[in-house]
């Protein structure tokens, strides 16, 4: 029972698909968040009326207090890199032409953060704690690509 198959040519595969696709809703919080990105180049956080915790991405409820959030506000100042990775392979496991830097970007005093690419940085110079700002896209449609990437602040 523990024999291994060692020749892939001996296998006869049958290819198939599951014939379905999905249309997802942005949701109450998501619609507000992406409209702010698109129309005002703003990153919105929501806050719990009970524990005052702010959240990015914003949500309509606080998981801890289980209360509905209110008090939406824009995050102030640059974010910082909480952690990052340098990618060398695609989703299909193909080698990438150039390494891509992806980071979890957080804002102090706000729980959570956004996952995004970094741009205008040398991968070897990226450090945890580095301050970053969004590079806004010219044409914005209400998606994460409304931010092209995050980069160190231009005035620093």
């Amino acid at each position: 029972m523990l024999d291994k198959i060692s020749k892939s040519t001996e296998l006869k595969p049958w290819r198939g698909n599951i014939p379905i696709y999905h249309r997802y809703t942005l949701g109450v919080a998501g619609e507000r968040f992406f409209k702010a990105l698109r129309d005002h180049k703003q990153i919105l956080a929501s806050a719990c009326p009970n524990c005052r915790q702010r959240f990015i991405p914003p949500k309509i409820y606080c998981e801890a207090c289980f209360e509905e959030t209110r008090d939406w506000s824009t995050v102030e100042g640059p974010g910082y890199i909480k952690t990052f990775t340098v990618l060398h392979r695609s989703l299909e496991e193909e080698p990438l032409e150039r390494p891509v830097v992806v980071a979890l970007i957080a804002w102090s005093g706000v729980r959570g953060g956004l996952l995004h690419r970094l741009g205008e940085v040398d991968p070897s110079g990226v450090k945890t704690g580095l301050e970053v700002e969004p590079q806004w896209a010219e044409v914005r449609t209400g998606s994460m690509d409304d931010i092209q990437f995050f980069r160190p602040p231009l005035n620093s």
Binding site: L87, R89, E92
Partner: protein, 375 residues
């Protein structure tokens, strides 16, 4: 090469039959069946456990699927335990299966669909990235050198050489340098510090005390079970520390009457899909202080032949045997079973063992599942 020929039903059957044969039982002795897999998208069959349930011996029996993603292998045993502990069934056959070679061009495509459709998926996110981010956070917080992670990979890949189900090309006697020089996939994750894509199945028979006595079987007892879920917003978690594993472990320790895990747990199988994850989980399991599991690697504390430490992943684990996700969790429980029975052969740990722990982790990377077995 992956074990690619068998269908999910066939994989389930081979594991279920092997477990029954080992216990000296037949399918007629089984009162209930629990089946588990991680996401259906790997096998490409929606409601996959229902599809392979006949291969798991469930025809004409009370059957239940339980599912906590990658944590399912260990959770299946927990679910089987309360089937029997409720007093409703004398026996329960738990079968875990996963067939990842069906998902093309790469199973990471299925993982992409576990993330938020708007915030994360457009970036082409996959598990390797997310764990590279988590590993970096762990490394940064505790200032762990890459060599330490390479040593974990070396240990597990060596241990895996003695496991009969080890996937070809996964286990082996690698040097630290070979591991350190392996391809960087998503820094700091390297090829030889991550588990492969695998197909496989595992199974276990659970029985009541009365049944065991009546049939004269030589069992290992389930002394404690625990499970816990962190927030599903991965961005909100303490990436450097698995609080959900700590909570699951404390639940299981309380039930088992374990007051000092470092004294009372003699062998451990933490979930090790990545080298850093073994250390991350050992800390969550309270078997090392925060940030200390890496230091203990250097002392050989987790090695199979340790006399003063706690042997960790004597099976070879996900890095040394393979990672058919739910089946890999089950493989960890079966390893503790064999270790406690003294039947692990060349994998048998050196020190005396009376109690062991198996742990898996999964869902949206936020669930911890723990089972404690004892003689």
């Amino acid at each position: 090469m992956r074990r690619a020929l068998e269908t999910p039903k066939e994989l389930a059957f081979e594991a279920a039959k092997a477990a029954l044969d080992d216990a000296g039982l037949t399918i007629n002795d089984i009162d209930s069946v629990v089946a588990v897999t991680a996401p259906d998208a790997f096998d490409g069959v929606h409601m996959n456990t229902e599809y392979f349930a006949d291969g798991a011996g469930a025809k004409g029996k009370p059957y239940m699927r339980s599912y906590v993603g990658g944590g399912s292998g260990v959770f299946g045993v927990i679910n089987g335990w309360y089937h029997v502990a409720s007093g409703h069934f004398d026996t329960c056959l738990v079968v875990a299966e996963e067939k990842m070679s069906s998902a093309l061009p790469h199973p990471q495509g299925a993982f992409n669909a576990i993330y938020d459709q708007f915030l994360e998926r457009p970036l082409g996110v996959n598990l390797l990235w997310i764990f590279a981010l988590e590993m970096n956070r762990y490394m940064h917080t505790h200032q762990v050198p890459m060599e330490t992670f390479a040593r974990v990979a070396q240990k597990n890949k060596r241990n895996g050489m003695d496991h009969p189900s080890s996937q070809s090309g996964i286990s082996g006697d690698f040097t630290i340098q070979q591991i350190m020089d392996s391809e960087v996939m998503a820094w700091p994750v390297q090829r030889l510090m991550v588990s492969p894509i695998s197909d496989g199945a595992g199974a276990m028979v659970l029985a009541s005390e009365e049944f065991v006595r009546k049939r004269g079987l030589s069992p290992v007892w389930i002394e404690g079970v625990g499970w816990n879920l962190d927030t599903s917003y991965w961005t909100d978690r303490d990436l450097y520390y698995p609080r959900y594993v700590e909570k699951a472990a404390r639940m299981a320790y309380d039930m088992a009457g374990v007051t000092d895990p470092r004294r009372d747990i003699h062998v451990v199988e933490p979930y090790d899909p990545f080298a850093y994850k073994e250390l991350h989980h050992l800390e969550g399991l309270q078997l090392a202080d925060k940030g200390q599991a890496p230091r203990l690697v250097e002392e050989g504390f987790w090695d199979r032949d340790t006399e003063v430490g706690i042997p960790s992943t004597p099976s070879g684990g996900l890095m040394g045997v393979g990672n058919p996700i739910a089946a890999a969790g089950m493989m960890k429980v079966t390893e503790i079973f064999w270790q406690l029975q003294g039947r692990a052969g060349k994998r048998q740990v050196k020190r005396e063992v009376r109690r062991g722990l198996a742990q898996a982790w999964g869902d949206l990377m936020q669930v911890g599942t723990v089972v404690i077995l004892g003689k």
